[in-house]
Symmetry: D2
Subunit: 342 residues, 4 copies
Amino acid sequence: MKIGILTSGGDCPGLNAVIRGVVLKGTTTYDLEFVGIRDGWRGVVDADFFPLTRHEVKGLSKVGGTILGTSRTNPYEGSRGGAENIAKTLYGHRIDGIIAIGGEGTLAAADRLSKDGINVIGVPKTIDNDLRATDYSFGFDTAVNIASEAMDRLRTTGDSHQRCMVAEVMGRHVGWIALHAGIAAGAHAILIPEVPLTIDDICELVTKAHDRGRAPLVVVSEGFKLMGMDEAFSDKGLDAFNRPRLGGISEVLAPEIERITGIETRATVLGHIQRGGSPSGFDRVLATRLGLHTADAVMDAEWGKMVALRGTDIVRVPFAEALGELNTVPRYRYDEAAALFG
Amino acid sequence: MKIGILTSGGDCPGLNAVIRGVVLKGTTTYDLEFVGIRDGWRGVVDADFFPLTRHEVKGLSKVGGTILGTSRTNPYEGSRGGAENIAKTLYGHRIDGIIAIGGEGTLAAADRLSKDGINVIGVPKTIDNDLRATDYSFGFDTAVNIASEAMDRLRTTGDSHQRCMVAEVMGRHVGWIALHAGIAAGAHAILIPEVPLTIDDICELVTKAHDRGRAPLVVVSEGFKLMGMDEAFSDKGLDAFNRPRLGGISEVLAPEIERITGIETRATVLGHIQRGGSPSGFDRVLATRLGLHTADAVMDAEWGKMVALRGTDIVRVPFAEALGELNTVPRYRYDEAAALFG
Amino acid sequence: MKIGILTSGGDCPGLNAVIRGVVLKGTTTYDLEFVGIRDGWRGVVDADFFPLTRHEVKGLSKVGGTILGTSRTNPYEGSRGGAENIAKTLYGHRIDGIIAIGGEGTLAAADRLSKDGINVIGVPKTIDNDLRATDYSFGFDTAVNIASEAMDRLRTTGDSHQRCMVAEVMGRHVGWIALHAGIAAGAHAILIPEVPLTIDDICELVTKAHDRGRAPLVVVSEGFKLMGMDEAFSDKGLDAFNRPRLGGISEVLAPEIERITGIETRATVLGHIQRGGSPSGFDRVLATRLGLHTADAVMDAEWGKMVALRGTDIVRVPFAEALGELNTVPRYRYDEAAALFG
Amino acid sequence: MKIGILTSGGDCPGLNAVIRGVVLKGTTTYDLEFVGIRDGWRGVVDADFFPLTRHEVKGLSKVGGTILGTSRTNPYEGSRGGAENIAKTLYGHRIDGIIAIGGEGTLAAADRLSKDGINVIGVPKTIDNDLRATDYSFGFDTAVNIASEAMDRLRTTGDSHQRCMVAEVMGRHVGWIALHAGIAAGAHAILIPEVPLTIDDICELVTKAHDRGRAPLVVVSEGFKLMGMDEAFSDKGLDAFNRPRLGGISEVLAPEIERITGIETRATVLGHIQRGGSPSGFDRVLATRLGLHTADAVMDAEWGKMVALRGTDIVRVPFAEALGELNTVPRYRYDEAAALFG
């Protein structure tokens, strides 16, 4: 049996470990043959394949990024896209099935292709931890570690200058990275998309920490929405054209916090460093195990499913469980952390 | 209500984060009062207490070790030990209950004290991950990260010299650290207490990796028992007096592997560096959450229970669930990893 | 003899190690007495002093930031400033001399105070490495390590997405951090204040790397001046009001590189994480040695001088040697690195 | 011109960065051709060569170990060794000169080969920093960082248990790693080959630290010689056969310290983790610069010399300057550090 593997969407520490896990188990235990598909669904549509043997995956458990390349191509778009064309391409190259490692968009496409008769098995990938159906996905733990360490560094500057530091972390729709990194770093305020706050709420937390002699640390998800922000900006005569150029949300918050509290405040956007580099031990183990179990699932012809972490076990679930709704931070988890704010 | 907190047994990254979580939530949400108990049960027996306010726990989430100190004292031993004496001591200091953070021995003592009428709540602590009743305990993730990084380093030396490297990690009775660090580092053999092997089994794995052009990496738990070792040593005329002085199991294995396979082999005992230093993000979050929930459990007067991780939730379980049997590596988890050996 | 110690200007990994070195040697070898001066020259002017014993400096060699606090106050400004007032303040508190740890502004002030009769010894502090008279100062090595690691991370993302990554590092007037971190990370272009380039020069380097199949990495000092930038912006009708809001220089470069080369390009501003956190081994040793030698210099009454690194030795030099001109990257060092661009 | 490159002796972080620096500058600036020589002098003797283009050195600045492999072969030994045979081999493969990256043995052999008419340029390699003629060599800074971090970890355990921790680091003949790592980690005793001490001297330092409430940290070079050790062992009836099996010097010291001071004491041998893995920023820059300058030296036909660091410059020196005497820790550098012991 010949199986294609692709990685799709933003890169994430652990992708290579998944690929290695699949290929090692698939070739040594099951005698499967693999091809690498270049740049996600683009490679499927363009038939951009190359042989993937255990030699190519040597030493990959600790290597960040993806040796397959990635893109945001939708397999249903373009003149060569769509299930029928893809089926022909795969048949022409004698590829019996696809392992698709990706986030919500990828898994939705995989689900649709699967219903359209293509053999697909999914591996959930979300550095933001925004997918339901899996307790965690690889990359998230590494991102939390990087963000926590960065905030440990920011704190020494905050303490030395008695400044408020605002650290902006990933999390477009869900606040998991901010929540965990904020708990880990001992933040005095954690701002996440799920819990809108006003600038006054935030300044109250900042002032409270400052009054206790601490240099306040505010962690904010990139997707946090400040309550009343639109009104505030329209008051200042700033229009839509100007606002995006203000940069991340932390760069909006910092000057406002400084203006209202009188405490010198600096913003730092952690950005791409959160998603690159060598995975943490946790992510290497999780990604490798997902890869190993994906090879098993291929042998069991469990097409139309994805592998997932539940407790300490790897399980198989239908794509549908991961789709539809995002894995948002539940209110009780936010409240749990808020007890630390003081 | 006044509550004493103690840490007992070997130190572990995350102890301070638990203490901080308990004290922050207990003082700001519940108006509890805390005393630190010095050096585990010794401090209970000797009435060695000091006030523990939120000021003392400032900034502790990232600090390794324990500000309370620790010891291996058994609270039932000595002339001032035993439930009756302890009850008097606690009453005399108006201490209403104890939070005991420790491993199997500590939790067993806590269980017994609890049955003898002392108010105790437990927090599981095991860097080896050898306690049932909790999916993971804090410290384990940090140890796996440290061991994985150390092995990444060993590999470059192995590769440059075409040597076999034997890395000895913690794990007296269970092989979790070896299993996870071995998967993370891409080891060619993982040797754990749960799965006895002969020297020939090991050399076969080493030779197989070497024949594929790899510098073999062997990870071994300190508690691994080599099948046939006693016979081998008695053949060489080494008696019990001599053997312990040979050092760790890795120092027994390395020369044997070199002798049998002809591949130059070096042993490294990671030792105490695995248990010190700043906790990983995962461990900081887990430890902090355990601390927060322990404060809740105190308010609910859930004496005789311990907090634990199940999936992504913190739950309360009777001490008994953690006692009796160790959390060993199940055979299917070893076999899962063995598929990577090639 | 009673000596005050102050830290001034931006914080820097190693400040605490200097303080510890001075205090340990001063108290145990020489029987000196120390007071900490809070927040740089502000504490001198405001007589904000506190006793500084070996107890306060315990364990500080590895701690980032400064336990003394820092500010950018000029000792000659304000109603209580100036040499005469300061002399009175110091006399009133029986302080015989000041150890001033700071950058160019601090050392210039120290020089002036010294000439005005105040006993001052200086310790050079510049994370940018912009001071002459010392081969390196502490903090620089740590910043290069942090920047190099961050760029290792950025590269995996660049490689996975075939993107150009632009990393902006510290260096307002000199390009040392960009030069060293760029060499360390294998950058394809290093942009420093000392070597102005046009956007076309930069795009040529980016395209060359891309044509060789690499994901181009561009490292840029925050103080890099793009040749022709003012003209370019005025062509687009952007006025002075709009430009500063565009953020750092990397955020100016990235869209231009993408527009001209057609290669997807992302900017990351490393910002404050470069100056916080635990110092590297090199910086701990350098800072500690500077501290130890400063205590010696106090005993030798070498007022009006600063300690400095020359080769592997710590020497004493007049303040003047560090002032006037900055330690810029010489052209031959840039050309040396440019040979790596390909 | 065709040049062979070899790495010899123990591996060291930065070897690959030197190779990359030579090859990038040599091929892009000078049009040199390179061959890799496998496993040090063995590859010269056995004519084990392979083409080394810029493609092979891609991304190597951050990779530990050596892609060329290494060995301890002496080029003057064996039937195919000796200057005459080597000259023939090189001539037969049209190799015009050799770049030899190695330690004292390698440089001595290079010197002799050079005098025997072979074109050789040297690059000093010594993780112990034991070579004169260069201020530092690559690898040393990385080793100090690893050892410092490991000791930061050991300290938390020491503090929690009020134990004395003995950390054994590399340094067979010189104590630089112990000296720098000991200063960096705030050790209470630093034991180096250059300064013999008795067990009583050591215990006095340990007791002094303990009396101040500290958990004593002792750093010891593997090559430290305990004064009076031979006598002590013969008193116990231990003969030469038994002693080597006692392990490293730290394992000799720990029980003696515990016995004499009554303070619980643990030994940790850091071992091979000090020499592997990704180089620090400092080492990447130094190694890359040495490589770049070696390419220049080849073009200038500076055979019989080695490149070296002096202050911030790379210079060329005759082999002889590095040979003969080792770069030991001078007494004033030890005394400087001893002021910190308290």
